[in-house]
Each structure stands twice: as structure tokens, then as C-alpha cells.
Symmetry: C2
Subunit: 246 residues, 2 copies
């Protein structure tokens, strides 16, 4: 049994997200599994570093899968790219230790969320950014982002229904860059809860609009109440950039 | 009569090109004219700096049009962007002298042609670049491009049928840059013949593949025979970047 690790890019626009669904199969995982299953003649399960939601993009998603019969990595990659639709691509492949697991072994993830802060159309970025016409106060958002970094219970910043799983995470850094009309929020952390990056961004945008103060972030974290945080911003602005392993 | 100059961006993928066609209207010019005609209640003609072919993109197309009744430029732009499809956008507008004409007054144009020189998929650039899997010799292409600059009769590098119009043009510069797998050819000149940038690129690519020598360019120019030049490369790699005026 060989274990293969792949680096996958996709434009999420047309898909229901990473995770395979039962009935209709319009997911990235589903597409990959179908092609590998066709190639090998037996069911192949592909594990991703994490799910990305419907409409979310990836520049650096990592996944792994096992094949019973050894195939050269390069051949597997070529086969995948021959049959994948053109909005999904495998850009690297390598054989890894048998026990490597893309989700369980991930130690850090980086996401970006992009905002077009203008009423002027951005034809070439329209599928990869969310439009906010009113001018955002970048300094205020940066100040607010400081409160959101660190190790906290991010319960207020997730759409996940309550369960037994911990909602404590460590956000290592949030960097907010502005280049012309484009504001890019970069989030680095050990892992993110369901919808967390998009709710963090929605909350920071409200700070940028002057609807909230930077220091309000502390209270929202402490409250652990979803309703106290800002809105869930659209999926299309979000992109999984990188997954790190030891 | 007010004369308005607009800067237009479009993803050409879905369109039959800039120039309005008689029957079906799936052109950039046609879309702009239809909206302005709807806005004013009378026919408005929009003149572009030049035609771009079906599938060609623009980051900096320039056009102008006259309106009988004065409307604030900002209002015209907002109206256009409200009704334009999202793959066309007006990013700047200004009132100009009555006799300004975007095509007749243009003195320089810049186009880029992008090539993905790899067999690894480029999901996010796939609509804006042509794939050449075999490694291209960038130095050889740069050497060849030197012969193609200057003032020449570019008859060999156009698909235009023979006519009385001059096929002499001045290509001010051709810059070839490579960044990872992406090769960008940038062409600056006083104007380009029908298909000229794409045939120049097709010929340079043949140099990059070792099928032609850099010094062959002189003979192709001198011959003035289309068949001696390289192939017409696909529209999707081409983008009109900038049009300059005095």
C-alpha cells in the first residue's frame, strides 16, 4: 500500500465544497475519488486537510490517499490532471510515509479573505473577492485583529452547532494588507472552526465600517455567543493558501 | 454634445470581440451601446481604440462616445456598471474635448500575451494564458524579438487580406519575462495589424521550441508572406493592457 500526498488547487465557484456528499456528487473530494477509483478499479478514499465550503477556493489544499498497487507518483498526477475538470488541478504529488494523514498531521493552515473596497468593478477578481463599497478603516481593523489572535475559545465565531468538541483554537497571526482597492486578510492558525474565517472577517469589516470598536473583540470572544459577532461573509472571498506539516 | 472617454476592462471569454456585429449582439461595443441607448433614449455610438478579437481580454481598453444631453460622468459610469454583465466593467470616465477620438488619437498600445510553460495545471490563470508544455528557450525568444522590433512592413505577421492599407507599423519594444511557469510577452507599438500580436507570439514560440532560429525573423519580415511566419496562437492568452494618447 502506497500513500500519496497531493497538493490541489481549485476554483470553488462551481462546487459544493471539498467534502463528498451522498447523492449528487459535485465536490472536489468526489471528483478526485471517482477518477482514482476509475484508474485503479477499486474504491480509493481521498482525505483532505480539512473541508472547504461550497464556493471556497484553494491554492494549497493538501490531501492523501492509499493505492493497493504501486503506481509512479508522476503517473498518478498525470492521470488525475487528464480527467479532472479544468477548475481543479493537482500541482504536486509525492509518496509519503504509510501513516501520514493530511488532516490529522496538519499543524498550521493559512487562509486569505479578499475584499474589493470600491464601487469600481474588478472584472478579473470578481470571483475571488467580496465587494464592500464603503471605505474601510484598515488601521481600526488591524487594531481589532490583535484581540482576535492568540489562544481563545472561538465559539462566538463559528456556525457549528454546539457539541462536545473543543472550540478553542490558536490564531497565530492575522495580517491585513491593502493594495489599491484590494484588501487581503491573511489568517494563520493551528486550525479553524466551521465558518470561523468568514465570521472573523465579517466582524473585522464591521470594525472597518465603524459599527464596532476594536476593543469590542474581547467581549465578543468572552461571550461565546455567535449572535454577538459579525455576519458570515460570502464564500467566494475565501481561499485556503497553505497547510503545514512537521 | 458632451464627449466622454471611458477606460474599460473585460474578460473576453464569452464575447465575439469588441466590434458590434450586425445580427447577434454578443460584443463589448454592442453591450455598451445598448445600455447608453437605453439610458438616453437615443442611439449612442461607442468608438473603441481598436477592435479586440473574440476571446481577447482587456485591462485598459479606451473608448469614447457623445451624448446630446449632458450627464455627469460619474452618473454615466454608475449607470453603465449597473447594467453591464460582471465580466465587463468601466473603471474610469472623464469628459474630453469634443473632437477626441479613441482610435484616431491613439499613439501607442500595449498588449500582453501569456504562456503557461508547464504541464502542471494553472487553475486560476487558465482563462488568461495559453499552455505550452515543452520548455521554451527564453533567451532565444528574446534574441528573436530584437529583430521584430522597429519600423517594418509586418505583412507576414497578419491575417488581414491584402488591401490598400499600409502594413507598416512600429513595434517599440517586446519584453519577455518569465516568472515561475508563466511567460509574459509584452508588446508596445504605435498600432498592430489584425492578428499581429498572436502571430508574432506564435513565431517566437517556435523559436523557443528550437524550430526556428532568432535570425530567421529577418527573412520572414522581408518575405511579407504570411505562411512563412508561425501559427496564430489562441485568443485567450492576449490582453490589451494600455492605450496612450498625446
Amino acid at each position: 500500500m502506497n500513500n500519496y500526498r497531493i497538493l490541489v488547487q481549485y476554483e470553488g465557484t462551481r462546487y459544493q465544497g471539498w467534502q463528498k456528499q451522498d447523492s449528487t456528487d459535485n465536490t472536489i473530494q468526489g471528483k478526485l475519488e471517482a477518477i482514482l477509483t476509475k484508474m485503479t478499479g477499486e474504491f480509493v478514499q481521498v482525505d483532505g486537510s480539512g473541508r472547504t465550503d461550497a464556493g471556497v477556493h484553494a491554492v494549497g489544499q493538501v490531501a492523501n490517499f492509499h493505492l493497493n498497487e504501486p503506481v509512479l507518483p508522476q503517473e498518478v498526477m498525470e492521470y488525475l490532471n487528464r480527467y479532472l475538470p479544468e477548475d481543479i488541478g493537482v500541482i504536486r504529488i509525492e509518496e509519503v510515509a504509510p501513516r501520514f494523514h493530511s488532516r490529522l498531521n496538519a499543524v498550521e493552515k493559512t487562509y486569505t479573505y479578499r475584499v474589493i473596497n470600491s464601487n469600481i468593478p474588478h472584472v478579473f477578481a470578481r470571483k475571488y473577492a467580496f465587494v464592500v463599497e464603503e471605505t474601510l478603516d484598515v488601521d481600526a481593523m488591524r487594531e481589532a485583529s490583535r484581540y482576535l489572535c492568540g489562544t481563545h475559545d472561538y465559539k462566538a465565531f463559528t456556525s457549528a452547532k454546539k457539541g462536545k468538541k473543543s472550540t478553542v483554537r490558536t490564531v497565530k497571526d492575522i495580517v491585513i494588507q491593502k493594495e489599491n482597492d484590494m484588501i487581503t486578510f491573511t489568517y494563520q492558525g493551528d486550525g479553524f472552526l466551521y465558518h470561523m474565517v468568514r465570521i472573523l472577517t465579517g466582524t473585522l469589516i464591521e470594525v472597518g465600517l465603524g459599527k464596532r470598536k476594536p476593543e469590542d473583540m474581547e467581549g465578543i470572544l468572552d461571550s461565546k455567543i455567535r449572535e454577538n459577532a459579525g455576519p458570515l461573509v460570502p464564500a467566494k472571498g475565501l481561499c485556503l493558501m497553505e497547510v503545514k506539516y512537521h
